[in-house]
């Protein structure tokens, strides 16, 4: 029964999630609830029950984080000292910039929250819309 649910209901959702620029997706129906997250993206420790490439099905929990994405194509450079996962952030600050043809495009954090995830490494090429940081408010 569970296998059939996976095949018929979960797999199409998983494939849609894989192809979309999402970090987390929660689906609630009458008889089940599931949540997709990018593997490693949010520091998940829950065991995976249905792997399709880079995602895992984990129990639903918590608020959906806010994701800062790149507005340009370029190379991401972290500010010094670099913010780290789990760090508490208070007040507006630039976490990084994305360098495009010599122009520095700042990646700005506003308000207060916790840096839940860092999806990129310093010096990595990034494309438009690519997730850079996740913030839990």
């Amino acid at each position: 029964m569970f296998d059939e649910t996976i095949a018929r209901r979960v797999r199409p959702l998983a494939e849609a999630f894989r192809d979309a620029a999402l970090v987390r997706l929660t689906v609630r129906e009458d008889d089940f609830e599931l949540e997709f997250r990018r593997a490693g993206a949010l520091g998940s420790t829950a065991p995976a029950t249905a792997d399709t490439e880079s995602l895992a099905v984990v129990p639903a929990s918590g608020a959906v984080p806010e994701v800062l994405t790149s507005d340009v194509v370029g190379v991401v450079r972290f500010m010094r000292p670099p913010a780290t996962e789990g760090q508490r952030l208070e007040g507006d600050r630039d976490l990084a910039f994305v360098e495009t043809l010599g122009i520095r495009n700042p990646v700005r954090f506003r308000g207060s929250g916790t840096l839940a995830a860092v999806f990129v490494t310093d010096g990595q090429p990034v494309e438009y819309g690519q997730p850079l940081f996740a913030i839990e408010r």
Binding site: D19, A21, V72, V73, G74, V75, T100, L101, I103, P125, E127, Y128, G129, Q130
Partner: protein, 454 residues
């Protein structure tokens, strides 16, 4: 030869370039918008970068993101395809300034040919016949003086124009003032350039264009002509063929010689097309397109030359792979553009999700497309979803083969131009060959639902 080429385009032409590059052993980098994430041109490239959201201004025309994608991927050249940035001299310059080879002619040549008034002047200086007309006119009064000198009917054209925008036919002096104002306003709105010129309107001309290739070593060849007279009321081409049928004695050779002379006059390099209006034995230069054309496959089928590979090889500094003496046309080829449009409602474009999709095959049939069953057609882009090309020993054989190919084609989910084009292929005037650019609008479309041979 290049190691890696970035393809600054989408759809069938991006796939076409991807194929040519791979056959040359060159790696490819695709760019795509968020609306094209599932597109085949992304899937077949060696790597791909999202450069922006669906609207073209923010993605396929986003010069900083496209150049940046080329740099971070380590590409050494950019192929612009057609449309988008293909005839943008500034883009070609920026690419060059970042150490990237632009696969096309020099920026100065793109710029000169892109400005229609400049192109006409350069061509006239090179002895290429142009339609009688003016340089830029400063006012409607100057336009009237020119119109009276060359005689009505005249065509008012925006020097930055294209795709029928900023263009008005004027048959009588009384129509001039209103036509000038509306054409100029349209040009201002579409191209941010309202400069206008006047030329003689040639009645029922045929649109015949000559394909050329020039390398950086001074070699220039032509690959014959294409007849693109089957055009929608918006003057967009719908059916093209090579060679042009039923040309008066001497006109074909004159077209070819003129095209070569024009290329030599501007030191043209890479692939290009000179468009002419042909009326009886009169030949008039219209414009030069400094890029690969949508309809290039009919020339490839007839000459057995891969034009996109030649473009890449030329840009890499290699000499042309063929000489004029080696180029001989063989048989006849026809291309039908399959557009997601409704011919019954003025070819209104249709976006949506495709259902079942089946393309033809068999001898002498080529299909260039990026769509597949279940593919979505985003609303942001050109409505062309496939090109079907048929080659035969004779024009009659090519038409029969095309009819057979279209009968095998199924595209569900959107309205297309397939059935409309099948009816064109059956029309006695099309079969007799040599119709003008207005024929589809003024003769075929009004009569289409009256009586068609089964």
């Amino acid at each position: 030869m290049f190691r890696k080429v970035l393809i600054a385009n989408r759809g069938e032409i991006a796939l076409r370039i991807n194929r040519a590059a791979h056959e040359l052993g060159v790696q490819t980098v695709a760019i795509f918008s968020e609306a094209d994430r599932q597109s085949q041109h992304v899937r077949f490239a060696d790597e791909a970068y999202c450069v922006g959201p669906g609207p073209v201004m923010r993605s396929y025309l986003n010069i900083p993101n496209i150049i940046s994608a080329a740099l971070i991927s380590g590409a050494d050249a950019i192929h612009p395809g057609y449309g988008f940035l293909a005839e943008n001299a500034r883009f070609a310059e920026i690419a060059r300034d970042h150490g990237l080879v632009f696969i096309g002619p020099a920026p100065a040549v793109i710029s000169a040919m892109g400005d229609k008034a400049t192109a006409r002047r350069l061509m006239a200086e090179a002895g290429v016949p142009t339609t009688p007309g003016s340089d830029i006119v400063a006012s409607v009064d100057e336009a009237r003086t020119t119109a009276e000198a060359i005689g009505y009917p005249v065509l008012l054209k925006a020097t930055a124009g294209g795709g029928g925008k900023g263009m008005r036919a004027v048959y009588e002096p009384g129509e001039l003032e209103t036509a000038f104002a509306t054409a100029q306003a349209e040009a201002e709105a579409s191209f941010k350039d309202g400069r206008m010129y006047v030329e003689k309107l040639i009645i029922q001309p045929r649109h015949i264009e000559v394909q050329v290739l020039g390398d950086e070593h001074g070699n220039v060849v032509h690959l014959g002509e294409r007849d693109c007279s089957i055009q929608k009321p918006s003057h967009q081409k719908l059916i093209e063929e090579a060679p042009a049928p039923v040309l008066p004695e001497g006109v074909r050779d004159r077209l070819h010689a003129t095209a070569i002379a024009a290329c030599r006059a501007v030191n043209y390099t890479n692939a290009g097309t000179l468009e002419f209006l042909v009326s009886g034995e009169q030949v008039y230069f219209m414009e030069m397109n400094t890029r690969i054309q949508v309809e290039h496959p009919v020339t490839e089928m007839v000459y057995g030359v891969d034009l996109v590979k030649e473009q890449i090889r030329i840009a890499a500094g290699e000499a042309l792979g063929v000489t004029q003496a080696e180029l001989h046309p063989s048989g006849h080829a026809i291309e039908v553009r399959v557009n997601a449009e409704d011919p019954e409602h003025n070819f209104a474009p249709a976006a949506g999700t495709l259902g079942r999709v089946e393309f033809p095959g068999g001898p002498g049939v080529r299909v260039d497309t990026h769509v597949y069953g279940g593919a979505t057609i985003p609303p942001y882009y050109d409505s062309m979803i496939a090109k079907i090309i048929a080659h035969g020993a004779t024009r009659e054989a090519a038409i029969a083969r095309m009819e057979r190919a279209l009968s095998e084609t199924r595209i569900e989910g959107v309205k297309t131009t397939i059935d409309f084009c099948r009816d064109v292929l059956r029309d006695p005037a099309f079969r007799a060959a040599g119709v003008g650019v207005e024929w589809l609008k003024t003769d075929f479309m009004p009569s289409r639902h009256v009586a068609l041979p089964v």
